[in-house]
Structures are given as C-alpha cells and as structure tokens.
Symmetry: C2
Subunit: 160 residues, 2 copies
C-alpha cells in the first residue's frame, strides 16, 4: 500500500540528530553517518542504531561487536557528508577529524558534543536493515549543540 518513495518522503519529515557511528577491532576501522539512532532504556543504559545490511560498514560493525555514536554539532556538516558519501574511502573519512578512544576501542570524535561508546548487546534484522542494541559503556559530553536533519536540509540547534 505504502510505496518506498512515499515512506522516504514521510521519514524526511521526522527530524533527527545527525551522528557518526564508528567501529574498530579485528574486522577493521569503519565509520558511517547514521540518523537512525534512538534512546531505548536507562536500565541498563542502551541506545539502538539501525544500519542497512548492504552498507560496507555493516558487517564490520557487527563483527567488531563495538561502536561509538558520535553526536554531531552544526560545524560538522561537511564531516557528516564525507561519512555518508560512497565515493569517500574509509581513510579519507577519518582523515577529516581528530579521534581518540574511550573504552571499547571504537574511534571517538574528539570535538563531538557527545560520544557514546558502546558494546553491541543484541541485534534484530528487519527487512533490509539490522537494529543493533547497544549498551553504553562510557559517555563523553562536551557541549550542548546538535546538527539536525529535517525536510532534506540541515538545521543547527544551540542551547536554548
């Protein structure tokens, strides 16, 4: 009944934070831009991340079993585009930011407003995507700023 085009149009009307999801470990270092990040529960502290199984980073995230959700600020618009572009290699993507690690070894963007370092506690495949259930093991918070995507455009949110 509902076409892919109609669904995508409706989803463009659901404002979301723009985030970089990164991973590192035996399967390698990768990162991608993800808007489908959602709070689940604070007991235990858990978020979820939805990733298309056709994305070249999907299996690497799954196999490493760890990821970091780097919530972006307005100044990171170009960075978010680099991590979303299929023509930008993994090396080129990471060269555009400064990184360290918290506890899992996944790359944490040093100037991200908030970084959530997570272990993957479960996953559920739904259609083309996997929902990763991620327990938050360490949080780094620097400032209140957010890059939001809505109606196919970027918006910058600052502290109220």
């Amino acid at each position: 009944m509902v076409s892919s085009d109609e669904f995508r149009e409706a989803m463009s009307r659901l404002g979301t934070s723009v985030n970089l999801v990164t991973t590192d470990g035996p399967a390698g270092r990768r990162g991608l831009t993800v808007s489908a990040v959602c709070s689940v529960t604070d007991l235990p502290p858990t978020v979820l991340v939805c990733i298309n199984r056709a994305n070249r980073s999907h299996d690497v995230v799954r196999d490493n079993g760890v990821l970091c959700v780097n919530i972006l600020a307005g100044r990171h618009e170009a960075l978010s585009k680099a991590f979303a572009s299929s023509s930008t290699s993994s090396e080129e993507r990471f060269a555009r930011g400064e990184w360290d690690t918290l506890v899992t070894g996944a790359p944490a963007l040093i100037d991200a407003p908030t970084a959530l370092d997570c272990g993957i506690a479960g996953r559920l495949e739904v259609g083309t995507h996997t929902i990763f259930i991620c327990e938050v093991e360490r949080i780094r918070m620097r400032e209140a700023e957010n890059l939001v995507y809505f109606n196919r455009a970027f918006h910058h949110l600052n502290p109220a």
Copy 2:
C-alpha cells in the same frame, strides 16, 4: 559504569522529533508523547517506537496491535505536554485535538504534519522498555514542520 543520570543527560543532547503515539481497539483508546521513534527500513516500510513498560499506555498499545505515529509541529507544544503529563487523563488528552482514523482505527491527529498508521509486526523487550516494530500501512502528509526536543527545550523547525 554509566549512571542513569549521566545517560539521561547524554540523551538530552540527541535531538528528536516530538510525536504522539495513539492506539484504539479492543483494549481501549490511549495516547502518549514519544520521542523514541526511528525509521528502520523502507522494505517493508517500517518504523520502531520504544515505550516504557511501566507506562499506562504500554499494554493497551501491545494488546490492540496497532498504533499511529503523529509527528508534531511547533504549534503542538501544549498538546505534547498534555500527552506526556501523568496528571492528564486519556479523555482530557484527546479532547485537546481533532482526530479521525486512517486504516487501523488508531486516532490520527487531523492537523499533524505527518501521520503514520501502523500495524505492530514484532516487539523486543530491552531493560525497562519494549521496542515495537511497526509496519506502516497508511501515510498522511500535510506540511513540512516539526517540533523537536533538544537540551530539555522545544525547537520549531520549518521548511528550509
């Protein structure tokens, strides 16, 4: 390692759309404000909704097996507060808006920018919450406007 307070503070830095999730059916009519709504896949068109199992609407949503995600606009700030307040009865909540139904029978807010009428296709319990996997059966789109919650404050997004 990560406390509930620290996690909640971090989640306040993840900007989200503000939405009313409604249901109706054999278990009754209910509705609540939910920020934890996330796109999953367009094949089949699917979103997820996370609801605390302690919320009085949780079991009603589960038992009816249908829900409508009403994405809100800036003008709906007071409505979103009514649907989030434990001191506002179900009747008082619905009296504050105008409603009709699409296909599932769940209440659709007539002037919501976007309404996603869904059947519940699966659920996963994680900690205190249930993740409802929702197949979108009908979409109604009226305008591009969004009420966003970030840093414990409302923000109004308009077409870019």
